[in-house]
């Protein structure tokens, strides 16, 4: 019998250790190709844990999920259209503030995610103390501290991945409030979008935010949709 499959996407800032983690997860069982249409490398690998075969996809390193560079477009397209079972957001613990910006954007995509707090050794060297519990509660997602280069935290991460894929753990993240004025607009657009079939695979809340932001790719897609200007 074939093992059950889980797809996991690795996302994170450049140099946060995605590829290091990818290599320690998949070892030599990987395949390098190209994302169709753009010269952005696509790496996939397989590993197994808890009776599952886990397909790991290493996404390009990005600082945000806007549509300004091909890397960002590839990363967000994958998350929205391929709907990986789990999104692992690799965060550089020694540079938390900048890294968490991407995490918040991922949360808005309503992807099932885990925060992998990488480079904990580096953070300790800098005398940073990170309250894992508090971070996890504040973000509303599981947080796994790790040192990917030394294989620390990898088993814990795998068990979290399986838990989320099985639906045993919630991973929705908190919702960001943009203030009354903006929220009102978001609501209006959300409503208009909910009547359109094109919006199906996107989260209407996220779409509304992107449209307000003036995201070119999304605007192109939804031009002419009822009620959207």
């Amino acid at each position: 019998m074939n093992k059950k499959q889980i797809t996991v996407a690795l996302v994170g800032n450049p140099n946060s250790g995605k590829t290091t983690l990818f290599n320690s997860l998949t070892g030599a069982r990987q395949h390098v190709g190209n994302w169709p249409g753009v010269t952005v490398e696509k790496k996939e690998g397989i590993c197994s844990s808890g009776g599952y075969e886990i397909k790991v996809v290493d996404l390009p390193g990005v600082y945000s999920l806007t549509a300004y560079s091909p890397d960002e477009v590839v990363a967000r397209k994958f998350i929205i259209e391929e709907k990986p079972d789990v999104v692992v957001d690799i965060v550089d613990a020694s540079n938390l503030e900048r890294n968490l910006y991407l995490s918040v954007q991922l949360m808005e995509l309503e992807a099932p995610m885990i925060l992998a707090l990488n480079m904990m050794d580096e953070a300790e060297n800098r005398k940073y103390k990170i309250d894992i519990e508090k971070l996890s509660a504040g973000m509303g997602v599981a947080v796994v501290p790790m040192v990917a280069s030394k294989n620390k935290g990898v088993p814990e991460l795998l068990s979290e991945i399986v838990k989320i894929a099985e639906g045993k753990k919630s991973c929705s993240g908190v919702k960001i409030a943009y203030g009354r004025e903006v929220e009102k607009q978001i609501e209006v657009i959300e409503k208009a979008l909910s009547e359109d079939s094109l919006a199906g695979k996107y989260s209407p809340h996220w779409l509304a935010i992107k449209l307000l932001e003036g995201d070119e790719e999304i605007i192109r897609k939804f031009e002419g949709v009822s009620g959207v200007k």
């Binding site: 600082y63 945000s64 806007t66 300004y68 020694s94 540079n95 938390l96 503030e97 900048r98 910006y101």
Partner: protein, 77 residues
């Protein structure tokens, strides 16, 4: 407190961002990197010919072109 363009800061000087101007895609990227209004910034150094410059922001070092830095207005402390 005096307002200055970021590229006018001397090495070691610190300030707070009050305003960012500039072309939209660079502007967006700067926002993504944490260069936002209210952020504390420190000038780390300038390359020999005055371009690029290196700053410290939100706990990490970032290099910018002089032209990009000129669009960032800081209040010097």
């Amino acid at each position: 407190m005096a307002e200055k363009q970021l590229n006018e800061l001397k090495k070691g000087e610190k300030g707070k961002i009050v305003r960012i101007t500039g072309n939209s895609s660079v502007f967006r990227r700067l926002l993504d990197l944490g260069v936002v209004k209210g952020s504390e910034i420190e000038m780390k150094g300038v390359a020999p010919l005055g371009d690029p410059i290196e700053i410290k922001i939100k706990g990490y070092n970032l290099s910018l072109r002089k032209s990009e830095a000129a669009g960032i207005i800081v209040e010097v402390q």
